[in-house]
Structure formats: structure tokens, C-alpha cells
Amino acid sequence: MKEVVQGIPLNYYLALSTVLFSIGVLGVLFRRNAIIILMCVELMLNSVNLLLVAFSAFHGDAKAQVFVFFIMIVAAAEVAVGLALMVLIYRNIKSLDIDFLNKLKW
């Protein structure tokens, strides 16, 4: 397995995760539904996971893989809180379109 991972040049992994990360960033910036935005954030985090695992294989060092577990755990905690907040908001305004969140303005 390690040979397979290392058979592909590191730059390919770097490019792939950068593209995934950028898709996530663009999604957060341009989509209006809060759940889609959350999914785009998850895409950003997962591109990081991919990158970390690739680097880990290239350095022959397991620390980054452990870090990936931490990221997954934290992402799960974040999703739990985020979805709870969204349920709260949906109960109040019957929508998750972030354009409706405009009460706070100068």
C-alpha cells in the first residue's frame, strides 16, 4: 500500500487537495443554504485530511495520521453543534437561507 501511495508524485496529492480545498472555499463563499455551506466546510477539512495522509506516507511518519483522527473528531463535534444551531434557527424562521439572517446590521 505504501508503495502505491508513494508511486504517485507528491505534487499530485498537493494539487488534488488544493483543488478540493478551493471548491470548498468557493462553496462557502457563494452558496446560500447553511447546510450546503457546512458541507463545503467539511470538504475543506477532508481535503486537509487527504493532504496530511499523503505527507505522512511520504515522510514515513505516523503523527500526521493521528492528527487526521483529531480533525475527524473535532469535525464531528462541530457538525453536532452546527446542526443543532440550524434546527434552532429553522424553528424560528422556517428557512436556512443565510440571506434571511440580516437582522444584525449597522
Binding site: L10, L14, S17, F21, G24, V25, V28, A34, I37, L38, V41, M44, L45, S47, V48, L51, L52, F55, F58, H59, D61, K63, A64, F67, F70, I71, V74, A77, E78, V81, G82, A84, L85, M86, L88, I89, N92, I93, I98, L101, K103, L104, K105, W106
Partner: protein, 458 residues
Amino acid sequence: MKSIVLLSLLGVTSMFAGVFNYRKLILPIILIGLAAAIGLLADQWGTNKVFFEMALFDNYAIAFSCLLISVAFLIFTLALYHYRNESDIVTDLYALFLFALTGGVLMTSFNNLVMLFLGIEILSIPLYVLAGSRRADLASNEAALKYFLMGAFATGFLLFGIALVYGASGTFDMAGIAAYVQNSKEIPDFFYIGIVLLIVALLFKVSAAPFHFWAPDVYQGSPVLVTTFMSTVVKIAAFAAFLRLFNYCFTPLSGYYDIILIAAAIATLLIGNITALYQQSVKRMLAYSGISHAGYLLIALVVMGASATSVVFFYSAAYAAASLIAFSVLTAVMENKEGRESFESFKGLAKNNPLLALCMSIAMLSLAGIPPLAGFFGKYFLFATAIKDGFLWLVFVAIFNSLVSLYYYLRVIVNMYTTSDEETPAFKPNYALVVMLLITVGVSLALGFYPDLLMGLL
């Protein structure tokens, strides 16, 4: 490390207070626990204890942790006043505050990028909940969702930055990265991109321009106690982490990223101060004032001598004391004005509650940097260090901004000392509020008259 364990246990104790029905006891327990945590930290002064290469309690970490815990202590005193009428969820809120505080302590003491990430998340996730803790209030909901989405977005940048730094250096350890930066002949491009992404994420967390846009909305929408926590503990913790990471790891490369930090500092100062000029709500004005203070602290970050740490520490302490006064007076005024937070709701405060008005004036003057208050010396040391390092023009920009900021700080004072038809009636402040104000005003004055109390510490 003991203090981190103690703080988490306090949080757990607080969570169970609702179940086992010792709600009345929980606040004294928390206050004693926080005092004990400060004691445990102070006991380790100068020992540089390392825990499995993950956390390093050097003097820097201990000083900032003690500052964070003391500020939290005062916020809990204020909580006694603020939450006296609602008892259902209050222990859960205390637990969330304590968990966030634990994250803040981790952020000041990390010795490994994993711990930096975990610290930031442990600080942020409870705060998302706290921001939305007034469940029926749409503004609070909106603040929570905005904070959550922006915070998670910033986390993505932080992680990508960490991944790239790891990819180049092969380690998450701070000492390892510092050694890599010192010794390696050829640093790949993506390492620099990693540093820039780390800067972006941390600018988000300290609410500096151009990533400040979430802060005013979140500060205004959150319950006032949570706003107090965010603008003091969270901001100081984020700055401590920022300074620790860059001071420790990347100093040899500062030529590459200083320009970004300078641009961010100037933009933060200008946007924070100029937008604060035309605010109608004092709470929102304080949010913008917090943004502009982040700009001053960024200048300290650029001017990174060995003395930058003590300047940042002094400035944070002065800023925290003044903000605590401002927010606690704001709480008292809002309670007696049915939650209104405009400048006009301060009218007549000096006539009916002269002492509260005096405290608020001290806070505003300290934030504006008028001698002999603590805020003045914070700015003075900052500018003196900057001039010594040859950033004279940057100091001119900062002083210009200080002058602009005088307008909106004095506006509060002017409003307090004028009268109107619908002014706040005289009310008797709760004793918790009085204790809190005595301490913070005392600190503001003491640091103003004896700045050496904290300056020589680091």
C-alpha cells in the same frame, strides 16, 4: 497541566450541578476553583514544565493563562448579577464558559501545532453554543450561526496551513519547526503558503481586517456576558497563540510575511476606528473598538523584539480591565432600559448613578489611551518599541487612529453627562457588580500609576 485538568473538571462539575441539584453552590465552587487554578499556575513560575512535548508552561504561557483565568473570574462574578433571574440553563452556560477557558489556556501553552488546533477548537465550539444561548431571540440565533460558519471556515484555513507546514518540515513540534526554518537550505514554496494560511486563520480569530466582518454582528447579537467573554478572553487567547506561534517558529522568515501583517494592522485600525464613528449601539461600538485594539496589538506582533511579549501582555491586561468595566456598566444600563443599548440610553447616568458614570468614564478614557490610565501606558510602550525598531510611520498611523477613536469614546461620556426626558432612573447596583467594578477600576488605575507591576514580568 494541573490547571488545565482542574478547569475541565470544574466544567464537568458545573454540568452535573443541574442533575444533582447543587445549583446554588456552583458559583462559589467555580470561583474557588479558578483561584486555585491561578495558584497552581503561579506555583510553576519559572520552571518551564513540558508535558509530553505537547504543552510547555513557560513564563509566557503562565502569565497569559493567569490573565485569562483572572478575567474569567471577574466575568463569573458578573454572571452572578447577570443570570440572577434565570436558573434553568445557567449551570450549562457556566460549564461552556469553563470549557472555552480551558481551550484558551491550551492556546497560550501549546508546544505542538496539534495542541494549537485543539485549543482553538475547544475555545470556539462552546462559544458557538454560548452565542446562541438566548434561544428565542433571533439576533442571538443569527449571531451563533454566523459565528459558527465563519469559525469553521477559519478552521479549514488553519488546518490547511498546518498541513502545508507539516509537509515541508515533517513535524508538528514547535521546536522542530523552528529548527527546520533555521537550518534548511531550501524551503519549498508551499511552506510559505502554509504560513500565509495560518496568518489568515489567526487574523480571523483575532477579528482583524480584512477578516473582521463577522465580529460586530456576533458581538452585537450575543448575550452581553458572552460578548464580554469574547472581547476579552477569546481575543487575548487568540493573540497569545498568534504571538507564540510566530515568535517561536517563523521569526527568521519575518521578511516574507511582515508586509501582510503591517497591511492587516493598518486596515484593521482604519476600518475599526472609522466604522465605530457612526455606530448607534454602544455594544456594537465596543465591538469595533475591540477590532481597532486588535490592530494595535498586530503592530506589536510586527515589531517582534524580545520585548514584544511584555508589551502585548501589558496591553492585553489594560484592554481587558477597561473592557470589563465598559461591558459591566453596559449590562447594568441595559437592564434598566429594557435592553436598549444605544448611546442615548446612557443619558442622565451621571446625574442618577454618578459612580457608575465615573467607572464608565475611566474605562472609556483608558481605552482611548488618556494618561494616567492603564491604556495610555499600553499604547505608550507599544509605540516606544515600534519607534525603536524603526517603524516611525506606522506609529504615526496608529496615533492618528487613536485621535479618531477619542471621538466615539468621548461620545459615551458626553451622553452620560447630559440629561434628557427619558433618562435612566437611579438604581442600586448589585454587590457583585460593585466588587467587579472595584477590582477592574483598581487595576486600571494601578497599572496606570505603576506600570512596572506588569511590564517587568515577561
